[in-house]
C-alpha cells in the first residue's frame, strides 16, 4: 500500500499530467463560479478530448474539476445569494447575510479554508476507508436508504425556524413538485400535461436558481444600493475568516467526516449533503439565534462537507462501479474510455491508479483553494459596487446557466415561474429550504419505500439500522422543539444585531438572558 501511495504521486508528478490537473481545476473554478453550471457540465465539456489522452492525465483532469467546483461555487452563494451549483445551496443561508453585512471576504476565506481542510480530509478518508468501505456501502439497503430520506425530511423542522407549519407545508409542496415526470416504480408520467419538457421532471438547478437567485436579483434591483449594506467592518478581512475556520476546527472535522460518510452511501445523491450538514450544525449548536443572519458556522459546516464528499462519492464509484453522484456517472463513462473497469479488482490489480485519483483529489483541493483565496479579495469588492451595474450581468448569466439544463424554452419558463414563487415565499416569510429538501427527497422517498415493501413486506421496519435511524429522527424532532423553546426568549430580544457582534458575545448574552428569566 505504501509503495502504491508513492507510485501514485510519482505517476502524477509528470508535467503534462500536472498541467491537465491544473486545467481541470481551472475549468472547475469557471463552471463553479457560473451559476447553474456544475461539475457535470465541466466533465461533459472535456469528455470529447479524453479519447486518445493519457489515462492518468485524463483522470487527473476530471478529478481536478470535481474537486474545484465545490470550492468555487461558494462565490455566487456568498456574494449574491445565488446557488453556484447544486452543492452549495445551504451556504447561502449564512454566507449571503455575511456579505450583506460587508463581511464577504471573511465568509469566503472561512469557506475556502473549510473547503481545503474538508477536501484533504476527504482524500485521507478515501485512503483510509477504502478497505472498509464495502461493508458501509452494503449496510445501506433500501429500507435504510428510506430512513435516511426521512432523516433528511426531519431536518425540515429545524430549518423552518419560527414557522414550523409553513416549513412543513413547504416541504410537502417540494415533495409534490418532485412527483412531476416519470414515476419511480411504475411506467407512468405524472402531471406532465403532454409536455415532453416535463417528462424528466423539474431540474433541481433551475428550481434552486428560481427560488433563490431570481428573488435576490429582483429585490436588490428594487432596493437599490449595493449588496453590502455597510462598509467593510474593522478586521472583516480574509484573515479573520481563516481564523474563524481554525477556531471551529472540530466543527470542520466533524462535518468533513459526515460529508464523506453520506457521500459514500450510493443512492442518496450528493445534493442533499449540504442541507443535511446545515441542519446538523444548526441542530447541534447551543446558540441558534444567528443562523440565517450570518453565523459563520453556517458557512463552515456545509462547505467542509461539500468538498469532503468527493472523497466519499468516489468510494462506491471505484468499488462498485455505481456512481455516487451525477458527475461521477460521467467519471465512470470516462473510465470506460480508458478501459478501466471499476470494481473490487481495481483495488487489487491497479492500486497505483487509485492513488493517482487520491493524490489528484488532494492536490486539486490545494490548487483550488489557493486560486479561490487569491480571487476572493478582488471579487468580494463587487459587493460594494452599486448593484444595478451587477444585476443585468448576473441576470444574463443565470438565464444562460438555467438554459443549459435542457436547452429548451421550458427552462426559461420554469426559471421565471419558480422565481416568482420564491420571491413570494420570501415576502410572506415562508422558509424556502424545506421546499428544496422536499423536492430533492421526493423521488427517493417514494422509490425506497416501495422497494422496501416489495422486498420485505413490512418486516423491514424491524431491521436494526432502520430502528437506529428512526430513533435519530425522533430525537431530532423532539430535540428541535425543546431547543426552540429554550432559545425562544433570547431570539425575541436579539432582534437587531449589528453584524460586528461576535458569537461569544451572543452566547454570553443568551446566558445572561436565561439568568434574567429564571
Amino acid at each position: 500500500m505504501i509503495d502504491a501511495l508513492v507510485n501514485g504521486l510519482v505517476i502524477l508528478m509528470d508535467p503534462f499530467r500536472m498541467l491537465m490537473l491544473f486545467a481541470g481545476v481551472a475549468i472547475g473554478i469557471t463552471v463553479g463560479i457560473l451559476p447553474g453550471l456544475g461539475g457535470l457540465m465541466g466533465m461533459a465539456l472535456v469528455l470529447p478530448f479524453l479519447f486518445g489522452m493519457d489515462s492518468y492525465a485524463g483522470i487527473a483532469m476530471l478529478i481536478g474539476i470535481a474537486a474545484a467546483v465545490p470550492s468555487a461555487d461558494t462565490f455566487p452563494s456568498v456574494l449574491m445569494g445565488i446557488p453556484g451549483s447544486s452543492g452549495s445551496q445551504a451556504t447561502i443561508m449564512d454566507g449571503y447575510p455575511l456579505a450583506r453585512k460587508g463581511q464577504a471576504a471573511r465568509a469566503l476565506s472561512a469557506s475556502f479554508m473549510a473547503s481545503l481542510i474538508g477536501g484533504l480530509i476527504g482524500a485521507v478518508a478515501l485512503t483510509a476507508l477504502i478497505p472498509f468501505a464495502r461493508p458501509l456501502v452494503l449496510a445501506f439497503g433500501s429500507p435504510e436508504l428510506f430512513m435516511l430520506t426521512i432523516l433528511g425530511l426531519s431536518m425540515v423542522g429545524v430549518l423552518s425556524g419560527s414557522r414550523p407549519i409553513l416549513g412543513i407545508i413547504g416541504a410537502v409542496a417540494g415533495l409534490t413538485l418532485g412527483m412531476v415526470g416519470g414515476a419511480p416504480v411504475a411506467p407512468e408520467y405524472r402531471f406532465v400535461f403532454g409536455e415532453l419538457y416535463l417528462y424528466d421532471g423539474f431540474s433541481l438547478v433551475i428550481l434552486a436558481l428560481g427560488l433563490f437567485a431570481i428573488p435576490e436579483i429582483i429585490d436588490l434591483m428594487a432596493k437599490g444600493g449595493s449588496i453590502a449594506q455597510r462598509g467593510p467592518g474593522l478586521g472583516g478581512g480574509w484573515m479573520e475568516g481563516v481564523r474563524d475556520t481554525l477556531r471551529n476546527k472540530w466543527l470542520v472535522v466533524r462535518h468533513s467526516l459526515f460529508g464523506v460518510i453520506i457521500g459514500a452511501i450510493p443512492g442518496m445523491g450528493s445534493s442533499i449533503i449540504d442541507w443535511l450538514n446545515y441542519g446538523y450544525v444548526v441542530q447541534t449548536s447551543k446558540d441558534r439565534s444567528q443562523f440565517g443572519k450570518g453565523d459563520i458556522r453556517g458557512v463552515i459546516a456545509p462547505e467542509a462537507a461539500n468538498n469532503s464528499r468527493e472523497g466519499g462519492v468516489l468510494m462506491p464509484t471505484l468499488l462498485f462501479g455505481v456512481p455516487g453522484s451525477s458527475a461521477m456517472a460521467l467519471f465512470l463513462g470516462a473510465l470506460l474510455i480508458f478501459g478501466i473497469q471499476p470494481g473490487p479488482a481495481l483495488l487489487r490489480d491497479d492500486l497505483d491508479l487509485v492513488f493517482v485519483i487520491i493524490w489528484s483529489l488532494a492536490i486539486a483541493n490545494v490548487m483550488g483553494t489557493v486560486i479561490c483565496l487569491a480571487l476572493s479579495r478582488p471579487i468580494a469588492r463587487l459587493t460594494f459596487v452599486p448593484f444595478y451595474f451587477i444585476a443585468p450581468v448576473v441576470l444574463c448569466i443565470v438565464i444562460l446557466g438555467a438554459f443549459q439544463e435542457t436547452r429548451h424554452w421550458g427552462d426559461l419558463v420554469a426559471l421565471l415561474g419558480f422565481g416568482l414563487v420564491g420571491w413570494l415565499m420570501k415576502r410572506i416569510e415562508m422558509p424556502r429550504p424545506p421546499l428544496l429538501i422536499g423536492f430533492i427527497l421526493s423521488g427517493l422517498a417514494e422509490r425506497y419505500l416501495w422497494m422496501s415493501y416489495n422486498l420485505y413486506d413490512w418486516d423491514w421496519v424491524y431491521r436494526p439500522l432502520v430502528i437506529t435511524i428512526g430513533a435519530l429522527c425522533i430525537g431530532l424532532v423532539i430535540g428541535g422543539i425543546w431547543l426552540k423553546r429554550r432559545s425562544a426568549g433570547s431570539a425575541a430580544t436579539a432582534s437587531d444585531n449589528d453584524g460586528q457582534e461576535r458569537l461569544a458575545d451572543n452566547r454570553a448574552g443568551e446566558e445572561a438572558q436565561k439568568g434574567a428569566q429564571s
Binding site: 457535470l40 457540465m41 466533465m43 461533459a44 465539456l45 469528455l47 470529447p48 478530448f49 479519447f51 486518445g52 456501502v137 452494503l138 439497503g141 433500501s142 415526470g181 419511480p184 416504480v185 411504475a186 411506467p187 407512468e188 415532453l196 419538457y197 417528462y199 424528466d200 421532471g201 431540474s203 433541481l204 450510493p266 443512492g267 445523491g269 462498485f320 462501479g321 455505481v322 456512481p323 451525477s326 456517472a329 460521467l330 467519471f331 465512470l332 463513462g333 470506460l336 474510455i337 480508458f338 478501459g339 473497469q341 471499476p342 470494481g343 473490487p344 479488482a345 443549459q404 439544463e405 435542457t406 436547452r407 429548451h408 423521488g443 425506497y448 416501495w450 422497494m451 416489495n454 422486498l455
Partner: protein, 361 residues
C-alpha cells in the same frame, strides 16, 4: 436520481486537408457536417460508443465531412429520438446513436416514441452480452436447478422493465416465479443490491459481470445461472464471445429438462436477445436518404473498421466484442423485418400484464 439532462457537443474528426486534396468529382459529403444525435446523457455506454464513432468516421467517409456528436437528452431518450424521427432533413446529414433497449422500445412501439426501425438503416453497430447470476447466500441453494425447485422469494430488481427485457424473457423461458422489485436507478444499482443480498437474481452486461460479479462467485456468495448468449444466422444459440466458458440459457435448460427449450417464450427470447445484444450501440440513418449517402456511409464504415487507429481506440470501448459492419448489419435488418407479429404481441403482453407498460401499436 433523476438523469441530469445536459447536452455537450463535441467536435470530432477534423476536416483535414480536404480543400487541397479535392477529388475530381464532388463527393456527397464534401464540406458537409454530419450530426450524430445521442439521445442519452454524456458518459454512458451508448454515449461513449457514439462518440467513438463520431471521432473516427469522418476521416474515412469520402469527402471527409466533419462529424459532430450531440447529446439531445430528455424524457428518457424520447426527445432526441423523436427529433431524429420527425424533425430532421432526410438527407443523411443527421444520424442517431441508439442503445439496444432504445431499439427494442422502437421495435415494440412504446407509448410516445416515434422512432420506427422499419424506416431506418443501420450504419454500424456494437454488440454486448449479458449474464444472469443468483445469490447463493440469500437463497441458500448452490445451483440454479435447486433455485428453480426451492420456495425462497426470488427477488429481481427492475429498472425500466423494457430495459431488462432479455433477462425477463429468459426467466419466462424457465418459468421462474419471481418477485419484481421496481424502482432501481440502473443495472449498477441492482448489482449493489444483489451483492447486499436484497436481490436474489440479477442480470448484468458481460463486462460488468466479469469485473464485478465474478469476484462474488470466487468468494462463494453468488453463482452463475446462465449467459443470455447470442443466436447465430441459422437460429441456433451460441456462447457469448466475452464469456466463452459460461453455458448459455439453452444449454442450462437442456441440462435441467433434458430437451431444448421451446414455446412462445423461447421464440420471443431468440428475437429479443439478439436484437438487444447485437445493437447495444447502433448508429442509424433514415432509409430514404439519397443512395450516394448510403454508399458513402458504408464505404466510410468499411474503411474505419480496418484502420489500426480505430481498432486500438475501440478496444477499450467495445469491451471484448467485435464491431458489426457490412453483412452483419444486413442480417440485423433482416431479422428485424422477419420478426413475426405474434412474437411482438407476446412480448408486449408480457410487459403490459406484469409491469403495466403501455404501447402505441
Amino acid at each position: 436520481m433523476k438523469p441530469n439532462t445536459l447536452i455537450a457537443a463535441g467536435v470530432a474528426g477534423m476536416v483535414g486537408f480536404a480543400a487541397f486534396a479535392a477529388p475530381a468529382q464532388a463527393d456527397y459529403y464534401e464540406g458537409q457536417t454530419i450530426r450524430i444525435i445521442i439521445p442519452f446523457s454524456a458518459g454512458g455506454g451508448t454515449d461513449t460508443f457514439g462518440r467513438l464513432i463520431a471521432q473516427h468516421l469522418g476521416n474515412h467517409i469520402p469527402g471527409n465531412p466533419t462529424v459532430v456528436a450531440e447529446n439531445v437528452t430528455g424524457a428518457g431518450g424520447l426527445l432526441g429520438s423523436n427529433e431524429f424521427a420527425e424533425r430532421v432533413e432526410k438527407d443523411g446529414m443527421t444520424l442517431i446513436t441508439a442503445s439496444g433497449h432504445l431499439n427494442l422500445r422502437a421495435f415494440l412501439g412504446l407509448e410516445g416514441l416515434r422512432l420506427n426501425l422499419e424506416e431506418l438503416t443501420p450504419v454500424v453497430a456494437g454488440p454486448m452480452g449479458h449474464v444472469t447470476a443468483f445469490n447463493t447466500q440469500t437463497s441458500g441453494v448452490s445451483t440454479f436447478a435447486e433455485l428453480l425447485e426451492s420456495d425462497v422469494r426470488i427477488t429481481k430488481g427492475i429498472t425500466d422493465p423494457v430495459g431488462l427485457v432479455e433477462s425477463i424473457v429468459a426467466l419466462e423461458v424457465f418459468g421462474v416465479d419471481y418477485r419484481a422489485v421496481p424502482g432501481y436507478g440502473g443495472r449498477g444499482d441492482t448489482r449493489v443490491a444483489f451483492e447486499r443480498g436484497e436481490l436474489v437474481i440479477n442480470s448484468q452486461s458481460t463486462p460488468a459481470f466479469n469485473a464485478r460479479v465474478q469476484p462474488l462467485i470466487d468468494e462463494g456468495t453468488a453463482e452463475v445461472a446462465y449467459a443470455i448468449g447470442f443466436i447465430d444466422a441459422d437460429g441456433n444459440p451460441v456462447r457469448d464471445p466475452a464469456a466463452p466458458d459460461l453455458p448459455t440459457l439453452a444449454e442450462v435448460y437442456q441440462e435441467i429438462h433434458g430437451e431444448m427449450p421451446s414455446g412462445e417464450a423461447w421464440e420471443a427470447y431468440k428475437v429479443v436477445a439478439n436484437l438487444v445484444q447485437n445493437t447495444r450501440g447502433t448508429i442509424w440513418v433514415h432509409s430514404d436518404v439519397p443512395q450516394e449517402a448510403h454508399d458513402a456511409l458504408r464505404q466510410g464504415v468499411d474503411a474505419m473498421v480496418l484502420d489500426p487507429e480505430f481498432i486500438e481506440a475501440a478496444g477499450n470501448i467495445l469491451e471484448g466484442y467485435d464491431i458489426i459492419s457490412g453483412s452483419g448489419l444486413d442480417q440485423i435488418k433482416a431479422e428485424l423485418d422477419a420478426a413475426p407479429a405474434e412474437i411482438v404481441t407476446w412480448v408486449q403482453d408480457l410487459l403490459t400484464n406484469n409491469f403495466e407498460v403501455s404501447f402505441d401499436r
